[in-house]
Symmetry: C2
Subunit: 253 residues, 2 copies
Amino acid sequence: MIGDKDISLTFAKGMAVLKAFDAARTHLSIADIAGVTGYDRAIVRRLVLTLVHLGYVRQSGRVFSLTPRVLVLAGGFLQGRGYGKNVQPTLSAHSRHLEEAISLAMLDGLEAVYVAHGDVEDRPVSIGFTIGSRIPLLPTAIGRALLGFASDDIRDGALSEAPAEQFTADTITDRAAIAEAVAASGRQGFALVDNEFEPGVAALAVPVGRPGNVLAAVGISGPREAFSAPEHVERARRALAGCASALEPLLAD
Amino acid sequence: MIGDKDISLTFAKGMAVLKAFDAARTHLSIADIAGVTGYDRAIVRRLVLTLVHLGYVRQSGRVFSLTPRVLVLAGGFLQGRGYGKNVQPTLSAHSRHLEEAISLAMLDGLEAVYVAHGDVEDRPVSIGFTIGSRIPLLPTAIGRALLGFASDDIRDGALSEAPAEQFTADTITDRAAIAEAVAASGRQGFALVDNEFEPGVAALAVPVGRPGNVLAAVGISGPREAFSAPEHVERARRALAGCASALEPLLAD
DNA sequence: ATAAAAATGTGCGTTTATCGCACAAACCGA
DNA sequence: TCGGTTTGTGCGATAAACGCACATTTTTAT
C-alpha cells in the first residue's frame, strides 16, 4: 500500500482540477472548479494556470476549457500498445463482418472505460460514446461481462460498491439480483441486458480474457427488437466471441 | 503571460512524469522516468506513486505503465463537445461516402493531434494512428492545411520552430520552401503531400474553419498511385471540403 | 446607467509539503 | 554467486505552496 509519505498532495490536487473537466462540464471558471474539487480558490487558480501554461487547458476570459493536448495523454496508452495498427483494424473488421458497431471497453475502478470502437454503416447513434467514455458496471452488458470474468475480489468489490442507479423502469438495482446476473454471465461467457441502461435498447457483450483475468469486453447494442430472436442473438454472440478471441493476444501485456 | 508565481512546480513535474509514457515508452522504471524527465529519482518516485494511487498508472514489479483511466481525461475533451453524437457520425458518414477513411486533427503547439477518425472497409493500415497521435506539421498534408489557415503568428511560429525532420528522400526540409507550400495550401484551401512523410504514401487535407481561424483539418491518405489522377484528387478534395463544411459548426466553441 | 453582488487578482507571512542526499536493501544480469 | 544497478527510506533543510484579506474587475439585477 502506498503510504501518505509517498503521495504528492499538490500533484493529486492538480489531477483533481484536470478531472473536473468532464462530459458534463466543459467550460469552468475558477469558482466552478473550486466548487467541484472543494479546494481553496487560490489553490485552484495556481493549478489551472499551470495547466494553461502546459497547454492542456485554454483560458477565454474567466472560463477555462480543455485543449486537444489532453488527447495526447490518451495517445500514450493507445499508441504504446499498437491500438491503431492492431486492435482497431481487428475491431473494425469484425464490426463489418457482423454488420454491427462493436465497442471495446476495460475495467477502470468501479466503472468501465470505452477504449476503442468499430464502425459500420448507418448505425443509429444512441448515447454517443467516445474513447474515454465511462460506462457503469452494474446495469450494462459490458459491465456484467467484465465482472463475470473478473477476479473474485474485483467482482465482489464492484458488486457492493459500484453505484446501482435506476436508469430505466427495468433497471435491476437489487445487488443480490445483479450478482446473480453477473454470475450467470460468467458461467455462460456473455451478458445480455435488455432495457436496463438505455430505454428501448438491448446490449450483448462478451469478455476478452479468461475467468479471473479479464482484459476487456466487446459488445454491441441496438433497439431491443433486434435482440428478440434467439438465433440472431446466438449469431451475434458467436461473432463477438470470435472478435474477443482475435483481440485477446493483442491486449495481453 | 502567466507569472512564475502562478505556476505550481510540483504539478508541472507530475504532468511531465505522466507525459513520459508515450508511443515509444509504455513500460518505464523509476530510473527510466528520471532519465526522460531529468528529475531526481526520489521526486519521480513520489510522483509516479501518486499516479498509481490515483489509478492512472499501474505498477508491476519495478515497471510502471498507463491504465485505461488516462482515456477518461481525453473523454473530458471528446464527450464534453459531443464528439460521439455529432462529430464522429459526420466523419463516418463522409468517410463511407468518399470510400476513404477521413481523419480529423487539430493544432496543438508545434504539432497536430488526431482527434477523430472515420472508418471504411478494407483500408490499408499505415502508421496506425489513434486518437491522441501526434502528427508533425511541416511534412504532412494535415499539417500544411492547418498552417495554411492559421493566424499569422501561429503559422510563422510553426514555420520557424516546428521540427523539419527528413522522413523520406522526398521530404522538403527547407523552411522557405515549406513556407511556400503552406502559403499555396492557404490560397487553394487544401494541401496535397506526396511521399514526404510516409514512403510511398500521398495525403490530401482540407482545413476546417476560415482563414486566420483554423479549427481543425480533415484528410485522407493512401498509396501515392491513388492520387496520381487529377480528377480523382479533385473529387476527393470536394468531398473533404463538404466534410469540413459539415464539421465546422460542430467544432466551433 | 448604476449599484450591488460575485468573482478574480494579488501580496505576503506562515506553514507545510517537497526536496534531495546518503545509506541500506533489493533486484537483476552476467 | 557476485557485482552492478536500482529502489526504498529517513529526515533535516528549504523552497514551494497555502490561504487569508483586501483591492480590483466583472457580472448581474434593478
